[in-house]
């Protein structure tokens, strides 16, 4: 493939990564921003979203779209409830102590992973996309014979991938509306700003925390349901997105939701674009070091304020 189309192609692929990553990372960022804890099990909630999606779609027959839409509602809901229960049963009881939360969520990670292995099994299982047409893309350039449209070999995407990008944009806008325009969003922001003050004003902080933890996990699960027709459900799929989401949240500036979204786009795109110029593993190394050095020279993240 020529350089121009290749760059565009890699960016488009990067955009799909960005879209899913943004959902997962915004979930993590909410928990991070409001509750100030590192949830190591976040990737497992993502994985559960994909696994539940598989169960739902394989139970419901008919057109794949029916099962998929059902999964889109049920999987995040179940995962959210599960996470809220974990918050109530465990995290609340250890008072969100940062270090103990790490150990407890590692424990949670083991439990979720092993239960999935026993129930769902070790295989990667596919979920059929509601629609998935290959779309060959044209390329325009000025050649010797003037302006021309060509169809480069392999230059294509799928309708489903484009839909994932659109769906992520819509979902993130919805989330933004909820957080900025509704009472529940106001309560969350108040809790984030000052927990004690919120308590004094009669906000049930414990319930808000459970809600936030559940919502964060549900967003990860939502990202997983969207991605599972592209990738497949597998019990170890949570590790990589956890790392990426973690990076995105920090690069975006802790707790800053717009920053998180922009960082997700940057990370997704740069991952795609760097892969054009180097061999795959070298590209990964460069992308990884890039993240490290961005933080070394801008420790508060790209959009964070100067905080600790």
């Amino acid at each position: 493939m020529d350089f121009g189309p290749y760059l565009f192609f890699a960016s488009l692929e990067g955009a799909v990564t960005s879209a899913v990553l943004a959902l997962i990372a915004v979930g993590l960022s909410l928990v991070f921003g409001i509750m100030r804890v590192v949830n190591v099990a976040h990737g497992e909630f993502y994985m559960l979203g994909a696994v539940f999606a598989w169960y739902v779609t394989s139970l419901i027959g008919g057109h794949p779209a029916i099962g998929f839409v059902t999964a889109l509602i049920i999987a995040p809901l179940l995962v959210g409830l599960l996470a809220a229960a974990a918050d109530y049963l465990i995290l609340q009881r250890i008072e969100y102590d940062p270090e103990r939360t790490i150990v407890a969520t590692i424990g949670l990670l083991y439990i979720i992973q092993q239960s999935t292995l026993m129930g769902f099994g070790p295989d990667a299982r596919p979920v059929e996309a509601p629609f998935n047409e290959r779309i060959a893309l044209p390329w325009f350039e000025f050649g010797e014979s003037g302006f021309a449209m060509t169809w480069p070999w392999g230059f294509s995407t799928t309708s489903y991938k484009l839909a994932v990008i659109a769906a992520a944009v819509v979902l993130l806008l919805l989330l933004w509306l909820v957080l900025s325009r509704t009472r529940i969003g106001l309560v969350m922001r108040a809790t984030q700003l000052d927990k004690d003050m919120a308590t004094a004003h009669g906000i049930p902080v414990a319930k808000v925390y459970a809600l936030v933890f559940g919502l964060g996990a549900a967003l990860a699960a939502l990202g997983a349901v969207l991605v599972v027709p592209i990738q497949q459900a597998h019990y170890l799929m949570g590790g990589e997105p956890l790392l990426l989401a973690f990076i995105v949240v920090i690069i975006g500036g802790l707790g800053s939701l717009p920053g998180t979204v922009v960082a997700a786009v940057l990370i997704g795109l740069s991952d795609g674009i760097i892969s054009v110029f180097f061999t795959p593993t070298l590209a990964k190394i460069i992308a990884t070091l890039l993240v490290a050095f961005v933080l070394v020279f801008r420790p508060q993240g790209l959009f964070g304020k100067h905080l600790a």
């Binding site: 590192v38 150990v103 407890a104 439990i111 990076i247 593993t281 990964k284 070394v296 020279f297 420790p299």
Partner: protein, 314 residues
Amino acid sequence: MKSWLQHTFMHALVLVGLAALFFVLSEYHAGNLARIMIFAVYAMGYNIMFGYTGLLSLGHALFFSAGLYGLTLSMHLLNIPAAFALVLGILASIIVSGVVGFFALRTRGVAFMIVTLMFAQAGFLAILLAGKYTRGDEGIVLAQATRSIGSIDLSDATTRYFAAYLLFALAYGFCAYLVQSGFGRTLIGIRENEERAQMLGYNVQRHKWIAVVISGTLSGLAGAAFALLWGYAGATFATVQYSIYPLLYVLLGGAGTLIGPLLGTAFMFYLIDFASEITPAYMLIAGVTLIALTLFLPHGLAGELRRRWLRWLP
């Protein structure tokens, strides 16, 4: 004065106890304990940074691997004798932790976690990229004949145990000395209140940097010793998982305690070993146990001992 006596008594108990255990335990458990001691050195290194200085790193597998590969590659590719290769392994971890510390310490908190994690990921991928020399994930087997120092065969069960014991004792003694030295007390001061330490005129950055290098070097020593004693090095040891282990060991055993890393390492090892005999779903048991520990023993095993009964525990 009393606490000095108590400390000495505890150190003697730990060191004599570990030596004596070899004669009591079965071959299998003695072999396990040798491994546990080496990984406890790794955890003690981690504890210097995390427990005593308050720096949470997610990239210690890089330091462990620096020692592991420093020794293995010099023995395997350059035919350097084991004793000298051990020195090279330690040297490699000093350099790597020096460089990582230099950059990473410009950040703090969660950003520090990410930066260390990213350096370690880059290191892991670099091991794969250099597959021609490292054989990537498959790794390298060190020939049994080369694994000896002088005429001492380190692949023999007894010498291996006491070599591990020797390294553990050295690291333990060093840490015991460090934490009660002026330098160690400054580190604790930084952990408790960094601004105050700064105002008192301590060069906080420099102290932290030295702590990272000491921590990285102990981790690298553990890595080099592991490769030498068990004869294998592979990219698995550079994965995130192996960065999480020392954190887990230290938190379970008790951060900022001298004996905690050993307790945590042993606890985690036998938790998996016993649970896996009862059920194939042993990770379920491990997960539940970890959660139960955070609920009921919030300061880790040694931390809880110190809080409840032995306030003098170092």
